[in-house]
C-alpha cells in the first residue's frame, strides 16, 4: 500500500515537474565503461521527461535540463542503466557497468560474426556450454534435450554413443535427412551413425562437451539462410572455448557414474510360462478338432531342473543388463595476454553402459589459439584431436535391427524362462545356432507314433553366446580444425580466410563365434572395415562494420566457400574359422568376401552475403543470400535467401518515458522470411542412370542399378517466422515468443513405382522407386521461451526457465494422388503410412474391439465399402486361429460366417506419431554454497505403436508379459487378452497392426537433477584454488508416462531412409538408462 502511495506521489511530482521546466541549464560530461573508454550512443534522459541526448563517439554528452530536474538516467545496450541525482554541478561523469542480462549476450551467427541478442532479427537459441558440461553423455547434442525451444531431441535407445534424433521445428524432409547441419568452429561436421557394426559411432562424440563455450541453434530463414542449401533443417553452431586476457586458469573436471536399466518388463516366470503355453496348445487342439482336423499337438512345455534339483527359472534380463561404471576426467588450461590467448584441454572418459559389453571411451585434446601478429592482423587456430572407441553387444536396438533374432533388446522378451542360459558345465545352452530347448518338446506332433517327440527348437539365439564370445567395435580417430588469418584493412573492414579440415578414420570390427548365434552357420565370422571421411573447407570473407551519422549501423559480409567431402570404406568378411581359437580378422579363416565398400565424393561451392542494418538499435533489418553449386545434381546451381526485420519498440522514447511501459524494459518485434534448401542425404550420383558391376558366380557382371533423375534438385524450404521478445522488471523476466511456419516444396521423394516394373535404386535391388522433387509438407507451430530470476537474494537465488514448442505437421503433396507411402520397420512390418493431409508417417492400425466375451476371440472392426470405396458400414469380425474349416481365413463374423480378414490398408485408422508439444523446464536454486538444478523435459500429443507389446503377447513359444494371465478362459470371460491359442500371432497384433497396441506417447521426464556445493572463496583461497564445486547428479531420474513400454523415446528409433517416415514404432529396443554421477570441478 505504501508503495502505491509513493508511486502516486512520484507521478504527481513528475507531472508537476513538467509544468515547472522554465529555467534550464546545461549539464555535460563523459560516459565511460569500466575500462575508462568513452561509450558512444549512450542515451541520457532527464528523469520524468522526454528530454534527452546521446553521447558522441568519445562518450561525451551535453544537454539542457530544466531546473526542476532531479536525476538523469543513463542507458545503453549492454550496460546496466544508471540514475544519477542532479545537484548543482554542471559536469557529471558516469561509469556504466556492463549488464549481465541475457539480452546482451553475444550470439554467434556464422562466418565469424556475432550479434547481440537484442539486435537479432532471426530466431536463434543459445545454449551455454555450462548447461551441457559434466553430463554423463557421449556426444554434446544428447545433453541438449529439452534445452531449447523448437529443438526436439529424442534418445532412441540406451546403447552408448547412438546418435540422438534431432529435429528443429519439425520434420523437414521425407526421404532426405531431417537432421540439422552441425558446424563446429566454422567447419561443417559429420553426424549420424558412421559405424558399420553393432557398435554405433556418432562422430559428434569426438567433441569433448567440456570444451564447448556455447551452442547456437539457427532456426529461421533470417539466421540460417547464410548456409543456403543446407539450412532447411536448421543449423547448430558449436563454438569452443577460448582464453581470456589476463586470466590464467587451470580447471579440473572429474566425475564418476553408475548406469542402470529402468522400467524393464515384468515377464512370466517358468511356472506361469509353462501353464500358459500348454493351455495354448490345449486350445489349439480343441480348435483343430472343431475345424474338422486332428488335435494331436503336444503339451510339451515341461520343466527343466538345475543340478541342485531346483526348477530352471531364468530371468534372461539378468544376463544382459548390469550396473555400468563410468568416469570422466578433463583438464584445461587457458589464458591470454594482449597479443595471444589460448585454450588447451585434454580429456578422457570411459563409460560403461547398462548393457553388458557396452563401453565408450574417448581421449581428446584441443588447442585453440588466437594471436595478434600486428595490431590489425590476427591469426589463429582451432585444432582438436580425438580418439573414440565404442564396443557394444548386438543390442538389436540400432535402426534396422528391431527384428533381429540376435538382438539383446528382444532376446530376454521372447526366450522361454524354463530353459537355462548355461549348461551345468558352464558352456552356453545351445542347440546348433539357437538356444537349446531344455525339456521342452513339440508342440508339433512326432513324425510317426514310433518316432520321438521333437524338441521345441526355439529359433532365437542364446544371448550369453553373444556376450561371451562376440565383439562389435568402432574406433575412430578424428582431427578437426582450422586455421585463419584476419586482416583489419581499415577500421571496421576485415578480410578473413579460413581453411579447415575434418578427417576421421573409422576402424570397425565385428566377430561372431562359430559356437552359436549369427556366426554359427558361417563357421565363425570376422569382419573388418576401414572408413575415411575426408573434408576440406576453405572460406574467404570480407566483413565491414560501420556506424554512419551515429545511428546508422551497417554490417556487410561477402564471402565464398568451397568444400569437398570424400567418404570411402572398404572391408572384408572372413568366415569359416579354422579353429575357435581365432576370434579376430587376423586369425585363420578359410573364406573371405568383400564387405561394406563405399565411395562418395561431393563438392559444394558457394558465394554468400549478409547485410544487416539498424537505425539507433531500434529498427533492424537483415538480408542473407547464398548461391550454391553442388556436384550431386545435374543442374548444379541454386539461389537461397532470407530476410528479417525487427523493431525494438522499447527503445522509443515514448516507451521509456511511459510509467506504464517502463516495467517492460525490453520489447521487440521480429519477422523473417526466406527460402533455403536441403541436400543432406542426396545420393552423390543420384541423377545418373547407373549400372553397377557384380558377380554371376565367378564371372563379372554389369547390371542396371538405378534409374536416376536428371531433373533432381534441392528441396526448397520456405520459412516464415514472426516473433517478439521482451524483458520485464529490469529483465528479471525475459521471454521470446515465435510463430513459425515452414513449407517445404520440391521434396525429394522415392516416387513409388509398381513393383512389377522392377526398377532398382543404387544398392537396393527391389527398391521400386525413383527419386523426384514432387512432395510438399508444412510444419507450423509456436515457440515460447521464458526465464525468470524469481529470487535474487544474497544467500538464495532461484531461476526458472522453460520452453514450449508446438508442432503441426501436414503432408501437402505426395508423388501421386491418393498415395499411401508405407515405411517398413526393419524391413519387416509396415506400421507407418504417409498420406496427404496427415502428419508424416502416421500409424495405420485396424481398430480392435477387444475380446469377445463369448468365445475369447479378438474382435476387429471391418469396414464394408460400396462400389466406390466409400465406407457404408463397419462390422465386427473375430479371429479364431486355425479354428475354422480348411481353406478359410480364420476370420468370421460374430455369427460365425467366414469372411476375408481385415487388412491394415482397407480397415485401418490413422494415429499421429509426431509430438504435438514438447519442451523443457529448468529450475536452478542456490542457497549459500549449495546449488540445485532440476531439469524436466516433456513431450506429448503423439501416438506410439507398441510393437514390443504385440510381441510380448504372441502365442508362439515366445515368453509373455505377466498381464497375459488376464486372458480369456471359459471361467474368466471379461478378459483383457484373447483366449490363448498356440501359434496365434494375429490376435495379439504380431501379424496385424491393431489399435490395442497403439498408445499415447505423452511423458514428463525428470531428465537431470544435480546438487552441488561450491567452496566459499575464502576457504578456496586458503587452499590455493580459485573455485571448487562438488556435485551429485542423476540423469534420467524419473519418467512419468502412461505409456506401457520401456520408454516412449524408443519410438524415434529409425534412421537412414526411414528416419522421417518410420518413427513412432517401439520394437524390441533397449530403453534409456538411469545414471548417477558424482563429480567435482576445480579451478586454479
Amino acid at each position: 500500500m505504501r508503495k502505491i502511495l509513493l508511486l502516486c506521489l512520484l507521478t504527481i511530482l513528475v507531472l508537476a515537474g513538467h509544468e515547472l521546466r522554465a529555467q534550464a541549464r546545461a549539464i555535460s560530461g563523459k560516459v565511460s565503461g569500466a575500462d575508462g573508454v568513452g561509450l558512444p550512443g549512450v542515451t541520457v534522459v532527464v528523469r520524468g521527461t522526454s528530454l534527452g541526448a546521446s553521447t558522441n563517439a568519445e562518450g561525451i554528452y551535453s544537454l539542457e535540463v530544466p531546473a526542476s530536474a532531479t536525476a538523469l538516467i543513463y542507458s545503453s545496450i549492454g550496460y546496466e542503466s544508471k540514475t544519477v541525482t542532479v545537484g548543482n554541478e554542471s559536469t557529471i561523469n558516469v561509469t556504466l557497468a556492463a549488464s549481465a542480462t541475457g539480452l546482451d549476450e553475444v550470439v554467434v551467427v556464422g562466418y565469424g560474426a556475432t550479434v547481440s541478442r537484442r539486435e537479432l532479427t532471426g530466431s536463434i537459441s543459445t545454449i551455454a556450454g555450462t548447461e551441457i558440461a559434466q553430463k554423463p553423455v557421449q556426444s554434446f547434442e544428447q545433453a541438449l534435450q529439452g534445452r531449447a525451444p523448437g529443438v526436439n531431441i529424442t534418445t532412441p535407445n540406451g546403447v552408448l554413443n547412438n546418435p540422438p534424433v534431432v529435429r528443429i521445428r519439425g520434420v523437414n524432409s521425407i526421404s532426405l535427412s531431417s537432421s540439422p547441419l552441425y558446424v563446429i568452429d566454422g567447419i561443417p561436421a559429420y553426424s549420424g551413425d558412421n559405424s558399420a557394426t553393432n557398435a554405433p559411432n556418432n562422430p559428434l562424440s569426438n567433441v569433448n562437451p567440456n570444451d564447448i563455450e556455447s551452442i547456437e541453434v539457427l532456426k529461421d530463414a533470417a539466421s540460417a539462410a547464410i548456409y543456403g542449401s543446407r539450412a532447411s533443417n536448421g543449423v547448430i553452431l558449436v563454438t569452443t572455448k577460448k582464453g581470456k586476457k589476463g586470466q590464467s586458469r587451470v580447471t579440473l573436471d572429474s566425475w564418476a557414474g553408475w548406469t542402470k536399466p529402468v522400467r524393464l518388463y515384468d515377464l512370466l516366470g517358468a511356472q506361469d510360462y509353462m501353464s500358459i503355453k500348454n493351455e495354448a496348445v490345449r486350445n489349439l487342439n480343441a480348435n483343430r478338432v472343431a475345424a474338422g482336423g486332428v488335435g494331436n499337438n503336444i503339451e510339451g512345455f515341461l520343466p527343466s531342473y538345475n543340478p541342485d534339483g531346483s526348477l530352471v527359472d531364468t530371468r534372461w534380463y539378468d544376463y544382459i543388463y548390469r550396473t555400468g561404471f563410468s568416469t570422466s576426467n578433463n583438464v584445461s588450461f587457458s589464458g591470454g595476454t594482449e597479443k595471444t590467448n589460448f585454450y588447451a584441454s585434454v580429456g578422457y572418459t570411459n563409460q560403461k553402459g547398462m548393457l553388458e559389453n557396452n563401453q565408450f571411451k574417448r581421449a581428446s585434446a584441443r588447442l585453440n589459439v588466437d594471436h595478434k601478429v600486428y595490431k590489425n592482423f590476427t591469426i589463429g587456430a582451432r585444432v582438436a584431436y580425438s580418439n573414440s572407441y565404442n564396443s557394444a553387444p548386438n543390442s538389436g536396438s540400432l535402426s534396422g535391427s528391431a527384428f533381429s533374432i540376435a538382438g539383446l533388446g528382444r532376446a530376454p522378451l521372447v526366450l522361454p524362462p524354463n530353459i537355462a542360459a548355461y549348461n551345468p558345465d558352464g558352456t552356453p545352452n545351445l542347440s546348433g545356432a539357437y538356444v537349446g530347448s531344455g525339456a521342452n518338446v513339440g508342440p508339433a506332433p512326432p513324425a510317426s507314433a514310433s518316432s520321438p517327440v521333437p524338441p521345441l527348437g526355439p529359433t532365437y539365439y542364446n544371448p550369453v553366446v553373444d556376450l561371451m564370445y562376440n565383439d562389435y567395435t568402432s574406433e575412430s580417430n578424428e582431427i578437426q580444425g582450422s586455421v585463419y588469418a584476419n586482416w583489419e584493412l581499415l577500421k571496421g573492414l576485415n578480410i578473413r580466410t579460413s581453411y579447415g579440415i575434418n578427417n576421421v578414420g573409422f576402424e570397425d570390427k565385428s566377430f561372431q563365434t562359430a559356437l552359436g548365434g549369427d556366426g554359427f552357420s558361417l563357421g565363425g565370422s570376422a569382419t573388418n572395415y576401414y572408413r575415411t571421411n575426408k573434408r576440406w573447407n576453405w572460406q574467404n570473407t570480407v566483413q565491414y562494420d560501420r556506424t554512419i551519422a551515429e545511428n546508422h549501423n551497417i554490417s556487410l559480409l561477402v564471402g565464398g566457400e568451397q568444400q569437398r567431402t570424400q567418404i570411402q570404406r572398404w572391408g572384408a568378411q572372413r568366415t569359416q574359422a579354422a579353429d575357435n581359437l581365432f576370434d579376430s580378422y587376423q586369425g585363420n579363416f578359410t573364406n573371405i568376401a568383400v564387405a561394406g565398400n563405399l565411395q562418395t565424393d561431393n563438392y559444394l561451392v558457394s558465394y554468400f552475403g549478409r547485410l544487416t542494418y539498424d537505425f539507433a538499435k531500434k529498427y533492424l533489418i537483415s538480408f542473407n543470400a547464398r548461391r550454391d553449386g553442388y556436384s550431386a545434381f545435374a543442374k548444379k546451381w541454386g539461389n537461397f535467401y532470407g530476410a528479417g526485420a525487427g523493431y525494438i519498440i522499447s527503445e522509443e522514447n515514448f516507451w521509456k518515458n511511459s510509467s506504464l511501459l517502463t516495467p517492460i524494459s525490453f520489447f521487440k518485434f521480429t519477422g523473417s522470411y526466406g527460402e533455403v534448401g536441403n541436400i543432406q542425404g542426396v545420393d552423390d550420383y543420384g541423377f545418373l542412370r547407373s549400372y553397377s558391376s557384380g558377380l554371376y558366380a565367378s564371372a563379372a557382371t554389369l547390371a542396371f542399378s538405378g534409374a536416376g533423375n536428371p531433373d533432381l534438385t534441392w528441396e526448397s524450404s520456405k520459412k516464415t517466422d514472426v516473433g517478439l521478445s521482451f524483458g520485464l522488471l529490469q529483465d528479471k523476466i525475459q521471454g521470446d515468443f515465435a510463430y513459425y511456419r515452414t513449407t517445404i516444396d520440391d521434396l525429394i521423394l522415392n516416387v513409388p513405382l509398381a513393383p512389377s516394373r522392377g526398377v532398382p535404386f543404387p544398392g537396393v535391388t527391389n527398391a521400386n522407386y525413383i527419386q523426384a522433387n514432387v512432395g510438399s509438407m508444412r510444419n507450423s507451430g509456436i515457440e515460447l521461451n521464458l526465464r525468470y530470476n524469481a529470487v535474487q537474494k544474497k544467500n538464495f537465488t532461484w531461476t526458472i526457465s522453460g520452453n514450449l514448442t508446438t508442432l503441426k505437421n501436414e503432408v501437402l503433396v505426395l508423388a501421386t494422388e491418393g498415395q499411401r507411402l508405407g515405411t517398413a520397420t526393419s524391413g519387416s512390418e509396415t506400421v507407418n503410412y504417409t498420406e496427404k493431409g496427415r502428419p508424416i508417417g502416421s500409424i495405420l492400425a485396424v481398430t480392435s474391439l477387444g475380446v469377445n466375451p463369448d468365445n475369447g476371440q479378438r474382435m476387429i472392426a471391418k469396414k464394408i465399402k460400396d462400389a466406390d470405396g466409400k465406407v457404408i458400414n463397419t462390422i465386427p469380425v473375430q479371429y479364431n486361429h486355425l479354428g475354422t474349416p480348411a481353406g478359410s481365413t480364420g476370420w468370421t463374423t460374430l455369427d460365425g460366417q467366414n469372411v476375408a480378414g481385415p487388412t491394415q490398408l482397407a480397415d485401418g485408422e490413422y494415429y499421429n506419431v509426431l509430438p504435438k508439444w514438447y519442451g523443457g523446464f529448468d529450475n536452478t536454486f542456490t542457497f549459500k554454497n549449495f546449488d540445485l538444478g532440476i531439469f524436466i523435459q516433456y513431450s506429448g500429443g503423439n501416438y506410439i505403436y507398441n510393437g514390443t507389446k504385440a510381441g510380448l503377447h504372441d502365442q508362439r513359444y515366445w515368453n509373455n508379459d505377466v498381464d497375459i494371465l488376464d486372458r480369456w478362459t471359459p471361467e474368466h470371460t471379461n478378459a483383457k487378452w484373447p483366449r490363448v491359442v498356440y501359434g496365434d500371432n494375429v490376435s495379439n497384433g504380431s501379424a496385424l497392426v491393431m489399435s490395442s497396441n497403439v498408445e499415447k506417447g505423452d511423458f514428463v521426464r525428470l531428465r537431470n537433477v544435480s546438487l552441488g556445493y561450491s567452496l566459499a572463496s575464502p576457504v578456496a583461497k586458503r587452499l590455493g584454488i580459485a573455485s571448487a564445486r562438488l556435485y551429485v547428479q542423476v540423469q534420467n531420474a524419473a519418467l512419468l508416462t502412461k505409456y506401457k513400454g520401456i520408454d516412449p523415446e524408443i519410438s524415434s528409433n529409425a534412421s537412414g531412409a526411414n528416419s522421417n517416415t518410420g518413427v513412432g514404432v517401439d520394437r524390441n529396443s533397449v530403453g534409456q538408462a538411469r545414471t548417477y554421477t558424482v563429480g567435482f570441478n576445480i579451478g586454479f
Binding site: I495, S521, Q599, Y691, L753, A754, P755, N768, T903, L905
Partner: protein, 492 residues
C-alpha cells in the same frame, strides 16, 4: 593521403587474393566422375561390357530371393513332403502353412519384386540392344556382331524372361487348367522401365502370359548358340537345348501334351540311352550322385552357380533350409525336415534307393534332405532344369496321349528310376510318373507345379490342412505394394 593510397593498394591486393580464393570454383569437382558405377551411356560401348550385362541378367534371375534358392524352397514346402521345424516366418513358414497375406514381406512381396526386377533387367537390356545397335560396328565390334552375337544375347535374355514369368505364374495365378488360362495372370511388362510414369498395367490372362513365354522361348530356341566353349557354361548359361527343355515344362503346365512330345523329341532320342543328339549332348548321368551336388554333368541343363564371393544370401540358401542344424558339421539350420508321412513313407521309395541312401539323413528322430550338402557359405548350385525332368515330361505326355502302356514312356520312366536302384515300374501310368517325379526332384522346387498344373488339391501335412483348388489360399495374393501403386491390378 599516403596512408589512404597504401590502403587502396592493400585493398586491391586483398581483393585479388579473395577473388582467387573465394571465386575460383573448381568446376571439375562439380562434375565428379563416379569410380565404381557406370553411366548408362557407356555400357553398350564395347563387346566386353555387353557381355558383362548378359552375365548380369543371369545374376538377377539367380537372386537368392528368386531362382537362387527361395523359389525352389517354396515349390517344395507348399506341398506335403516337408515339415517346418523352426516356425520362423522369415524362412517360408507362412508358405508352408498357407497363411500368407498380401503384406507377407519375405515371400509374397519379395518374390514378386525380385522376379520383376529380373524381368526389367532383361527388358532394359533388350531395349538397350536395340537402341544402341548403331554402335555394333567395326572396329570395336566384330563385323558379324549384329547378326550373331547380339541375337544370341537377346535370345538368352528372352529365355530368362520366359523362365521368370513362368515362375511368377506358378505362384500368383491360377493354373492354366482352371478355366483354360482365362483367369487373371500377370501384368506383362515387356519394355524397359526406368522413368516415373507407367505404373498402371492390368493383368494379362494366364493364357496370354503363357503365350508370351512361348514366344520368348521360340526366339530363344531360334537364336541361342548350340553350346558354349567353356566346360561349365553349358549348365550355367542358356543354349538352344535349354530353351527346348523349358518349353517341355511350359507345355506340360498348359496341358498341351502333344506339344510336349514334339518338343521333347527334338532333344530326346527315341531309344535308350536317351540323349540329345544336337547341341549340348544331354544325357542321364549314370548315377544321380554324380549330378548332385556339383550339377555340372550334362544332365544338368541349367543350374545357377555360386561362389564364396557370390552367395545366395542369408536365409536363401537351399542347403541352409534342408540340412539339419546339428551336428554343426551338417551346416544348415534345419528349417524343414522330411515329412514322415510324405514321400518318405511311400513304399515306392525303397530304403536302398540311391537317392534315399545318399540324400536322406536322420538326426534326432527326423529325416533331413541333404541333396544340397555343402555347408556355409552354401555353394551348391540352385537347380532349374535337368535332363531327367525332360525325360519324365515326355514320359507323362506320352502316357497321357497314348496311354500307360506306351513303351517309350515306360522306358523313359524306368531310365530315371532304375539308375537309382529303384524297382522298375511295369506301367507308365501318370500316377507312377508323378510319384517318380516326387522322389527324383525332391527339394528342387518342382512339386508345386506338378500339383497345380493339374489343378489338384495341395495335400495337408502335420496339423496343416489341405488346400483345395479354387480356395483363396490355393494361390498367393498379389503383393500389397503392387496393389498400392498399380491402379489396374486386381487382387487374387
Amino acid at each position: 593521403m599516403k596512408i589512404a593510397i597504401k590502403n587502396k593498394v592493400t585493398v586491391a591486393v586483398c581483393s585479388a587474393f579473395l577473388a582467387i580464393g573465394a571465386f575460383s570454383c573448381q568446376t571439375d569437382l562439380l562434375d565428379p566422375q563416379p569410380t565404381t558405377i557406370f553411366s548408362n551411356l557407356v555400357v553398350f560401348d564395347t563387346p566386353a561390357r555387353i557381355s558383362l550385362q548378359v552375365n548380369g541378367l543371369y545374376a538377377a534371375v539367380k537372386n537368392g530371393n528368386f531362382y537362387g534358392g527361395r523359389y525352389q524352397v517354396y515349390g517344395d514346402v507348399r506341398a506335403d513332403d516337408f515339415i517346418n521345424r523352426t516356425s520362423n516366418s522369415i524362412t517360408a513358414q507362412l508358405v508352408w502353412n498357407h497363411t500368407l497375406t498380401e503384406t507377407s514381406q519375405n515371400d509374397v512381396i519379395n518374390t514378386w519384386e525380385y522376379a520383376y526386377n529380373a524381368i526389367n533387367q532383361i527388358n532394359v537390356f533388350l531395349d538397350g540392344m536395340d537402341a544402341n545397335s548403331a554402335k555394333f560396328v567395326a572396329p570395336v565390334f566384330p563385323a558379324d556382331y549384329s547378326t550373331t552375337t547380339a541375337n544370341q544375347y537377346k535370345a538368352e535374355a528372352r529365355f530368362l524372361r520366359a523362365l521368370s514369368y513362368y515362375a511368377l505364374l506358378q505362384l500368383y495365378a491360377k493354373p492354366y487348367a482352371d478355366n483354360s488360362g482365362n483367369n487373371p495372370g500377370l501384368p506383362l511388362r515387356l519394355k524397359a522401365e526406368a522413368s516415373l510414369p507407367g505404373n498402371d498395367l492390368a493383368r494379362s490372362t494366364v493364357a496370354e502370359v503363357y503365350a508370351q513365354i512361348l514366344d520368348d522361348l521360340q526366339y530363344a530356341e531360334d537364336n541361342l548358340p548350340l553350346t558354349y566353349p567353356t566346360a561349365t557354361a553349358p549348365s550355367t548359361r542358356a543354349h538352344r537345348n535349354t530353351a527346348i527343355a523349358l518349353k517341355t515344362r511350359v507345355y506340360l503346365s498348359m496341358g498341351r501334351y502333344s506339344d510336349v512330345i514334339t518338343t521333347a523329341d527334338r532333344i530326346v532320342s527315341k531309344t535308350a540311352p536317351f540323349t540329345a543328339t544336337t547341341g549340348v549332348q544331354h544325357v542321364l548321368s549314370p548315377s544321380v550322385t554324380n549330378v548332385f551336388p556339383s550339377q555340372t554333368t550334362t544332365e544338368s541343363i541349367l543350374s545357377f552357380p555360386f561362389t564364396a564371393q557370390n552367395t545366395p544370401g542369408t536365409q536363401n540358401q537351399l542347403g541352409n533350409y534342408y540340412l539339419p542344424n546339428l551336428p554343426q558339421s551338417a551346416g544348415g539350420t534345419g528349417e524343414f525336415y522330411l515329412n514322415a508321412n510324405g514321400i518318405l513313407a511311400n513304399p515306392a521309395w525303397a530304403a536302398n534307393d540311391t537317392r534315399r541312401v545318399n540324400w536322406v539323413t536322420v538326426y534326432n528322430g527326423a529325416s533331413y534332405l541333404k541333396k544340397y550338402s555343402s555347408p556355409t557359405p552354401f555353394l551348391d548350385p540352385a537347380p532349374v532344369i535337368r535332363y531327367a525332368e525332360v525325360l519324365l515330361n515326355l514320359a507323362e505326355a506320352r502316357s497321357r496321349v497314348n496311354g500307360a502302356n506306351d513303351a517309350q514312356a515306360l522306358a523313359l520312366l524306368n531310365a530315371v528310376r532304375t539308375r537309382s536302384n529303384g524297382t522298375a515300374y511295369t506301367q507308365a501310368t501318370v500316377d507312377n510318373i508323378l510319384l517318380e517325379r516326387r522322389i527324383e526332384f525332391l527339394g528342387e522346387g518342382i512339386r508345386n507345379f506338378d500339383i497345380m498344373r493339374l489343378n489338384a488339391t495341395i495335400p495337408g501335412k502335420g496339423n496343416i490342412s489341405a488346400v483345395p483348388p479354387g480356395t483363396p489360399r490355393y494361390i498367393w495374393p498379389i503383393p500389397s505394394t503392387e496393389i498400392a501403386t498399380n491402379r489396374l491390378i486386381v487382387q487374387n
